[in-house]
Amino acid sequence: MEQILLHNISKSFQVHKRPEGRLGLLRGMFRRETECIRALENISFQINGGELVGYIGPNGAGKSTTVKVMSGILTPQAGECVIMGRTPWKERVGHVSQIGVVFGQRSQLWWDVPARDSFALLKDIYDIPAAAFQERLHELVSAMDIQPLLQTPVRQLSLGQRMRCEVAAALLHRPKILFLDEPTIGLDAVSKLALRDFLKHENRQSGVTMILTTHDMDDIEALCSRVMVIGRGNLLFDGGLDMLKQQFSPYRCIRAVTKIPADEMPIGGAVKTQVAGREWTVWFDPAATPAHSMVAQLAEQLPLADIMIERQNIDEIIAAMYREMKI
């Protein structure tokens, strides 16, 4: 049975606009122009327990708004949302005791005191029994390797260190659902990898449902089997990562460098060819022509110096998708 169900959720905001021009500031004091921004329009989806879903879209698409609605912080104007049998904004207290949130841009730790104190506070806020708390803390501390950081005031931690503590704080009460809003923002490669590993492990081990919004496509590729794409408040795609690739970037690409410049000629099996001096870029459809025969074909037709089959770059796929859908 589905754990999260959204049905035709809509939310709009009033945004004040300052009139343009030199006296705009002054005029704005007397005459307010407001614009209605439709952040979400009839969003519907279902998520089952234990799923790890990537939620992507350009800036301002409505990702965070959806997360806020699902965590009970915002009340939508219309639509229905049932999470574990509750409507988040109606039964906020009951709902939030079952979820955890990590907002990459915000902190839930107390800035001036060590993380350990914040954890102790969370223990009381979520009413976690002492033994269960110790066990869980130990688990998280060793998994995230934050033992040495616990006694340091949070303001003195680096971003990566703090983010590990944030994630631990969000999972202390063993939530059934974890919302992660850009958790890897600003992290270095090592911290990102460590965080991803941990999230994957936690998802498998405890069956926590995770919904991850991010702009980092490597996050999605490493973690999510299912992707939802939102743009201008509308859900544009919902399905597997493979399906997304299939749909928006069905071709694969080979880069070849020739020993001597060769005249442009049609390559057998290629969908599209581009030549720049000695560099050839060839696109082909792997469903029609297998990669190895494409390589053989190239070797036959061109005096090859080097050859490279490019991995599909998911960033480019997404960019292409945003372009195609005009979002």
Binding site: K68, V93, D124
Partner: protein, 278 residues
């Protein structure tokens, strides 16, 4: 409810830990308060000496009582500041209120505990230093500028009770201001205006007993007397015990009134809350 209590206690602990890290801030704050107290003592002394028709008392407040009142004022003012807890204010303006709403607690009592805990810190540390300094001045023989002894043991006991209800009142008042602030995107001006009005009417700037006679009954009944005037009158002994008891009751009534009002406004405000930022 039990959970909110436990969390509230825990909040007191964490805020104490936070406050104790900044000993220097407490010390410099106390210096300012002591300086203020001394200036007010000088002004009062000059007023009593040259302005008053009879030198011993004005509106049945003697100079010595007035001086003690001023010292207590510098202690009790810690409960009035800040109107809206600085942390909470920040959370409202930058959208971190979102995280607060993700806690399985009633937001009103959660924040009540949080801002009250913040006040206990300054009250105990900074206010404590002020009281110690005022008492030391008296003990060292500067009894004309120092904090005097309470009227009687019973008065002192009631004073302590009244300080505690002043503390509860300050929490309710703070939360009232905070709830007003929640749905407002910009504008601390109106809130600052209300805060200053409250401070003036509490007697912090001029003991309420020295105000015009015609205003006295209003001054005694208005809510802000709970901040300072009620406990201070009990300490210096310008009210009989019976009236003192009634004024403590009044403190509690105002506290309940502001709790109800704050809760109502907050409930209303949270419906339309906009969590700022992405």
């Amino acid at each position: 409810m039990r959970r909110t209590w436990k969390a509230g206690l825990s909040l007191f602990k964490i805020r104490a830990a936070e406050g104790l890290q900044y000993r220097l801030a407490a010390l410099s704050g106390a210096t300012i308060s002591i300086f203020w107290a001394l200036i007010e003592v000088v002004i009062l002394s000059v007023f009593f000496r040259y302005g008053a028709k009879t030198a011993d008392s004005v509106n049945s407040l003697t100079l010595a009582q007035g001086v003690s009142y001023v010292w207590l004022g510098q202690l009790m003012v810690m409960l009035q500041m800040p109107g809206v807890d600085t942390d909470l204010h920040q959370k409202i303006t930058n959208g971190d209120i979102g995280i607060e709403l993700c806690r399985p607690l009633d937001l009103y009592w959660h924040w009540f505990a949080r801002s009250a805990a913040g006040k206990v810190n300054t009250f105990a540390l900074r206010g404590g230093l002020v009281v110690v300094c005022g008492t030391l001045l008296t003990l060292l023989g500067f009894d004309r500028v120092g904090l005097g002894a309470p009227q009687s043991f019973l008065h002192f006991a009631l004073f302590l009770v009244s300080v505690f209800s002043a503390f509860l009142f300050s929490g309710a008042w703070s939360m009232f201001l905070t709830s007003i602030r929640i749905p407002v995107t910009w504008g601390d001006g109106p809130i600052n205006l209300i805060t200053v009005t409250g401070s003036v009417l509490s007697g912090t700037y001029l003991p309420l007993q020295l105000w015009p006679d015609a205003m006295q009954s209003f001054l005694k009944l208005q809510p802000f007397a709970s901040f300072l005037d009620t406990p201070a009158r009990l300490f210096v002994g310008t009210v009989p015990i019976k009236t003192g008891l009634l004024s403590i009751l009044l403190q509690l009534v105002w506290t309940c009134a502001f709790v109800l009002l704050g809760k109502l406004i907050m409930q209303h405000g949270l419906k339309s809350v906009i969590v700022q930022g992405g």
